[in-house]
């Protein structure tokens, strides 16, 4: 990745747009969206929880795609993209789990419940934490990249099975985007979409920034090797 690449130049713009998006999202969350009748103010957690859960899963999907491309092309950029996306996915899924736990306490009077979405997020968190631990523990960079890419592929192949098995175990999670709108008021739905877009822009900015860091780190490392 060169200094002149579009990606590097887009980092400041994405950061500013992400910050502005999050400020606008606060207006939607606290002023525009109505207070939910049953849960009251605690329901606002949902506007943080859902975008993080979604973007976490999207980051893991990016790891899968980048790993697949790496195995075919051996392009180190794809390996760096996998690492950056795995880190972001891990952070977002941790925040989604924390906010989900707060929601569960307020809504269901329990900190944790065996729910397909929560359980899938937790299992994915464990898998990608293992993925990052594996990356750090292999000294040979070529082997590390290949092995990580394989794990990045098989980890995502597991998602449907984890979700299905967790759903068959038992579920009490509300359907947000169900066939009939999942029971959300139109104002709430608009707020959710604004939050998802704002977090998406910020996620892209941070992802590109981390990619840039990893690129520089590799270049510095190569300076010392040769």
């Amino acid at each position: 990745m060169s200094d002149n690449s579009i990606m590097v130049r887009s980092i400041p713009a994405l950061a500013v747009m992400g910050a502005a998006g999050l400020i606008i999202a606060q207006y939607f969350i606290w002023i525009y969206a109505p207070v939910e009748a049953t849960m009251g103010i605690m329901q606002k957690i949902f506007y943080f929880h859902l975008p993080m859960a979604w973007w976490g899963l999207i980051c893991f999907f990016v790891v899968f795609c980048a790993s697949l491309v790496f195995l075919i092309s051996k392009n180190p950029f794809m390996d760096r993209l996998s690492q950056a996306a795995a880190e972001m996915g891990l952070l977002y899924s941790a925040l989604a789990l924390a906010t989900g736990s707060l929601w569960a306490r307020a809504a269901w009077n329990t900190w944790w419940t065996w729910d397909p979405r929560l359980s899938t997020t937790l299992v994915m968190w464990f898998i990608y934490a293992g993925y990052l631990a594996l990356r750090q523990s292999i000294d040979n960079p070529q082997k590390m990249r290949a092995v990580s890419a394989v794990l990045g592929v098989v980890a995502f192949l597991n998602v449907p099975l984890v979700f299905l098995s967790a759903r068959m175990w038992r579920s009490i999670h509300p359907a947000v985007f169900g066939s009939k709108g999942g029971g959300l008021e139109p104002e709430m739905m608009t707020t959710v979409l604004v939050c998802i877009v704002a977090w998406g822009i910020l996620t892209s900015g941070i992802l590109f920034y981390r990619l840039r860091q990893l690129d520089i780190k590799d270049r510095v490392k190569n300076l010392f090797i040769f």
Partner: protein
């Protein structure tokens, strides 16, 4: 004609494992200790539920899986013969199949010891359908060895390979273990599960998905770097 050259590798591994026995004694002992320790968690006079017993059985099997595949993949490394395997005139996938088959046999052998332990220490005497039980064990073991043989080679050359492999493999196994626990609980005399066929489907899908993935991806892991 079916190419069975990989069986040479299986026979070689089994001979090496049984020459000193340590490769099978360790997983069996660890599994038995786990069953015994979990039996202590039940208050005197109370029964262990079928679901808890099935969970302990599959947990013991999972730990045995880690030890079995670490042993299987470290044999070539210890004897510095891995390059020989890479140079041998057979596809790398045969190494995966061979290790998976050897792992399956060793895991079944370990489970032969775990089963009486489940009956004795956890008081599970109401088992129904021995053939179905054997079928469930084979189905779940298929998925276990598919993942174990694929990722067993990952941690080779690493000082803390047991813990590294556990961290990588255990989360991947969760859907399969849930299926094994539910089907096992049913066959150990627990409550009827209307989703029994669906759990079998999950275990089958897991085995099929990871077998397919392993056939494609194993050469990337086992190649020389």
């Amino acid at each position: 004609m079916l190419n069975i050259r990989f069986l040479c590798l299986t026979v070689k591994d089994l001979k090496l494992i049984f020459s000193d026995g340590s490769g099978i004694i360790q997983p069996v002992l660890l599994g038995l200790i786990l069953v015994f320790v979990f039996s202590l968690s039940t208050p005197i006079g109370e029964e262990v539920t079928a679901q808890a017993a099935a969970s302990i059985f599959w947990l013991a099997t999972s730990f045995a899986l880690i030890l079995v595949f670490n042993t299987l993949y470290s044999m070539e490394e210890t004897n510095q013969a891995r390059t020989g395997l890479l140079l041998s005139p057979m596809p790398l996938q045969h190494v995966w199949v061979s290790k998976a088959l050897t792992g399956m046999l060793l895991l079944l052998l370990a489970q032969l010891f775990f089963f009486p332990a489940i009956i004795v220490f956890l008081g599970q005497e109401n088992m129904a359908g021995w053939w179905t039980l054997l079928g469930v064990i084979l189905l779940v073991d298929w998925g276990l060895v598919a993942v174990g043989s694929l990722l067993g080679a990952v941690s080779q050359g690493h000082a803390a390979r047991d813990s590294l492999l556990s961290v990588v493999i255990f989360p991947l196994l969760i859907p399969l273990l849930l299926a094994g626990i539910r089907m096992g609980a049913h066959l150990l005399g627990g409550a009827d599960d209307e989703n029994l066929g669906a759990w079998g489907g999950i275990a089958f899908s897991f085995g099929a998905v990871f077998t397919g993935a392993a056939i494609v991806l194993f050469p990337f892991i086992y190649n020389e770097y």
